[in-house]
Symmetry: D2
Subunit: 350 residues, 4 copies
């Protein structure tokens, strides 16, 4: 057993929403000591001035990022930065012997060409081979040994968890997958813009990046690996006037003679013993409030016999299982700690 607080963790980019959520979770994790947090915008400012909620529970001051002083104090570094920045700093972090969980897209793709098609030129390609995709319930064994984890995107997490077991078992036709996903506003990050202005979001609902979101190729790569064959999906994200929460409604054609019970059993078997995937009972479906602030992914199943279509509904908190919570779960796996450690707060009733 680890000594209490013995994992020394640093958060790079600690004042964005995912970074701050990491600070929340790590500060409450009995095996972790946060030793450094960085922020370009708030360098020199105490974290609890940026986020007064935390009060004396977090007394760290934001620093400017510099590899050496960070690595000296850390066993693990979480990089919670916009895409493109991590690939410029992660190589040096690894060289200095720390382990890294990166929350950007930079190390999620093993197919570098796909990354470059949807993002930009990759400047640390060699690391893409070493990096492990941090979907804990699926790649747990590899994650345990990884030095570098590419933490999954929020949308992919909500889509892959219900689909992977079914794709692996051959229960669904992976040529026709439609994902209609809905996210709370915190997924857009903390930078002010007209698109996150309260009055432009409140009392409204919209689709955005219709069939043009960069999380689609991420899903296709991982799902294709599970299915053993290329996957092509249609993905339309939407914005919900709420802060936290993500719900994906997934439409897929079942293979012949597959029953709702078969699907349910397949998922139950696959996630047996894993604390964070919860299967809803028959006729029940997830709501984002049931997972708010938690690392759960709730999944509901219904076979529409009228149209012979399988409908999967999954809900996560985009900042927790969709970002910081899964990052901590990855850390737990990497350091041999129980995977639920620090993620076991009782959910709010309301």
């Amino acid at each position: 057993m680890l000594k209490s607080g013995s994992i020394r963790a640093a958060v790079v980019g600690a004042t964005g929403y995912a970074g701050a959520e990491l600070v929340r979770l790590l500060a409450g994790h009995s095996d972790v000591t946060i030793t450094a947090i960085t922020s370009r915008q708030y360098a020199g400012v105490p974290f609890n001035q940026v986020y007064p909620a935390v009060g004396t529970a977090v007394s760290l001051v934001c620093e400017t990022f510099a590899p050496e002083p960070i690595c000296e104090r850390a066993d693990i570094v979480f990089t919670a930065l916009p895409h493109k920045l991590p690939m410029s700093i992660v190589p040096e972090l690894l060289d200095r012997g720390v382990r890294v969980v990166d929350l950007s897209a930079d190390f999620r793709f093993s197919d570098v060409a796909a990354y470059e098609r949807h993002y930009q030129a990759h400047t640390a390609k060699e690391l893409c081979k070493k990096s492990v995709y941090g979907l804990c319930e699926v790649y747990g064994e590899k994650i345990k040994k990884a030095d570098l984890v590419g933490n999954p995107g929020c949308y992919p997490t909500s889509v892959l968890l219900p689909l992977i077991p079914l794709a692996r078992a051959g229960l669904v036709d992976t040529k026709m997958i439609i994902v209609d996903a809905k996210s709370g506003v915190s997924g857009a990050g903390r930078s002010p813009s007209l698109g996150v202005h309260f009055c432009e979001v409140n009392e409204s609902f919209k689709a955005y990046k219709v069939a043009a979101h960069r999380h689609a190729p991420e899903m296709e790569e991982i799902l294709g690996e599970a299915a053993g064959t290329p996957v092509c999906l249609t993905f339309v994200p939407h914005l919900v006037p709420m802060t936290r929460g993500m719900l994906s409604t997934i439409y897929v054609n079942p293979e012949q003679a597959v029953s709702e019970q078969d699907v349910r059993q397949c998922l139950a078997d696959y996630y047996k013993g894993r604390p964070f995937v919860r299967l809803c009972g028959e006729g029940a479906f997830p709501e984002t409030r049931f997972v708010r602030g938690t690392n759960f992914c709730d999944i509901g199943v219904r076979l529409d016999t009228h149209a012979n279509r399988l409908i999967l509904v999954s809900a996560i908190d985009n900042l927790v299982k969709g970002a910081a919570g899964q990052a901590v779960q990855n850390m737990n796996l990497m350091f041999g700690v129980d995977e639920g450690r620090g993620l076991d707060m009782i959910p709010f009733p309301v």
Copy 2:
């Protein structure tokens, strides 16, 4: 031209949200005088005590419904009641010579068996043949001559307007239609229940009646008529934490060699000269706030060439084009008034 205020209108069930929205629209309609409003729950109470917002703009007192006194004062009666009640009172209303727009499902189906399968036994079957489905942009000519109009459901309106022209033109494969729809809370009506409690809805998002909502057969009947062949669709409604607004994201397979431009042109041609259907420009998509309080249906189009799937996104205000606004538009058609009369308020910028 009609004399100002010369259409005498009565609203039966005026204190529910759809009924009250009817009162709002009719009170501002230059060709209409509201002569009677009824409410079981608030009989004897001035409408502006139930809805203080309207103030002196509406000075009517709610009455108990009785056919004779209502019909004496009305040329048209709007029945804004729960399913099942209208079929017990509409026959007598028609017998007394008034015209009726019914906002329930009771007179939407020409296939009575379908109605009975999804609702209950029908006690005024003979009227189902006379009744016209009140989707104004599609059945306008029939509506003009109708004595009884079955005002469409909110979900069907948002789904049929984008799909009917394409189905008629044979541009889409009507065997694979998936409708992922999202509604504001006012669609659930004004009766208190746990499901509409602020704290159970706020900051959450959920699917409900997954592939089990009674608006699906309504869509299938009308769409099948347009396509000339039976249609089978998958329909999943969701609840958005907002008061007004409905957005439907529709996934359908295009027939071979159909381009996004073909779809756009087909819709533009079909709705040419019709004021309430607005086509979004290329790359633009509707948001429910753009149609809030209005009778518009905004439609966005995208052909996902990656998966060869056509995506249609439509937005309406569920209480206006999805209920009371379309009812008024039906009345306008029935009485030979410009179809936009009383529905031309400038939308809010925010």
Copy 3:
């Protein structure tokens, strides 16, 4: 009677929330033609691209502001700009013979020194004497003859309407006035900032500029004039997680032997015949939703006999009676049109 559409109006700063609300109201005003709208940020862009909701109802393109071309086309110019800009352009507008309603603070103060203490040096001081404070129900006679109107602030409007009649009648002690006011987020304007980020506002409530808001001196000047003696008040504004609406709760000591009925009667007498001030019945109080989108100011009254304190609660829509609606009402008065013209839309029930 004016010929329909015969008042030519220009809106300078048309794409902020108050400016856009002006466009909404003027576009629906039967005596007005909007002839020009300006926007620095969106020059050259059609207004309905910035605000897709309005669609074809507004077909103007935003221009860069220039006095000559604007004045040639306008009888009245509305300046909906941040403080300080109007005083640099209004003199030239007036010189060119147009009448002006300015929505900023620049022309609200007759005491220039007070303005300069709370804002900045005034560069058009001579106009402050000519300018009339545009609180329509109070300064109506002066407004009719004014060439320049300083449109009141939203908070002052909500506070002055309930207090002025009582101050004039000597029913209250103007030495002890406490105003606890609450505003929706649109009052902060459309410019993106962390303070209006959805996630920083949603599901939260806060006080801001506690006893340090610049609307307090504006209230004190006008109220002092009504009372005939200097007034000193404590003003604390708060932010409500909603888009539109403002509610002020005002605590004041009644003079001896004043009853709730005296207060009610005083207000009823003062606002007799004025369509936009609505007095709530005994025991009833305003809610911001009752005035949403309207030019109403609803007022509730309660004498707390236990503590011998008078409580006034007023509600307005901050963008309408608190800004654009009152500006249109001012225009109506200035041009001899019925003061309610263009402001008579029926309120939403929900």
Copy 4:
């Protein structure tokens, strides 16, 4: 030190919002085992069916209340019931040797006549003398020895914490106190009614029970005790469109020559070493989101030198420090556990 989980706790009325919040906090409390939960409405139903969020973290089934079987299994019983019910069951609970924290008003008043004036006849008057008012930071010593604690109301908690130290120190004039308070909707409880219907609350703000709320006499009694003289205050609560959170803005006249620094120092001294009262820095004020889900009471101070008025702003989570959290804090004091035990979750950044 207590053995882990050694306090056996029962929650009577566990499915209301305060009861469910108690279950959340107790389930995460290392020194507590929940041994029974009761619910009239949901008797026989697993708690996690009523609140699916909690999942397997709470596996209890709701029972019908009966004193004997509850008391056999409990060291402490929390009664989270509507006013009037507790006084009929608490006597028997105490007779059976358990200790009780009652969340209703029944045991908050030592002046039984005041209770009877504002609520109803009291049927367990003798217990009112034994009962201790559970404002932990003020009555901690008495609470430690109490068998029966009357847990304070949410509004009183938010008002008394900032005022009591000042009243005790004689820094303020207790004859002129105005409390303008704002609450989230969960304070109204979980029972459906039109007043908590999403569409009636959302996008609106209102005052209610203006100077007529029963929490006022509760504040007056406790504050009068602190001041050593009767206190008379004006109290106006308001409803905010959010689920959790309460903010009170308190206006009071400072005694002569009292500075903002004096007030700040007085509060700092009084709450020294107490973990749940946090004083905001100069110029900073609380926001309800900073305390959401936590047991904190944040307090901001400003002396309005212009009007010589002291303004105190306090924020709590109405379900935590305003109900269940304080109840657990009371239990901690009663059982000699650190008062913050089970209440130390890190707050959400957003």
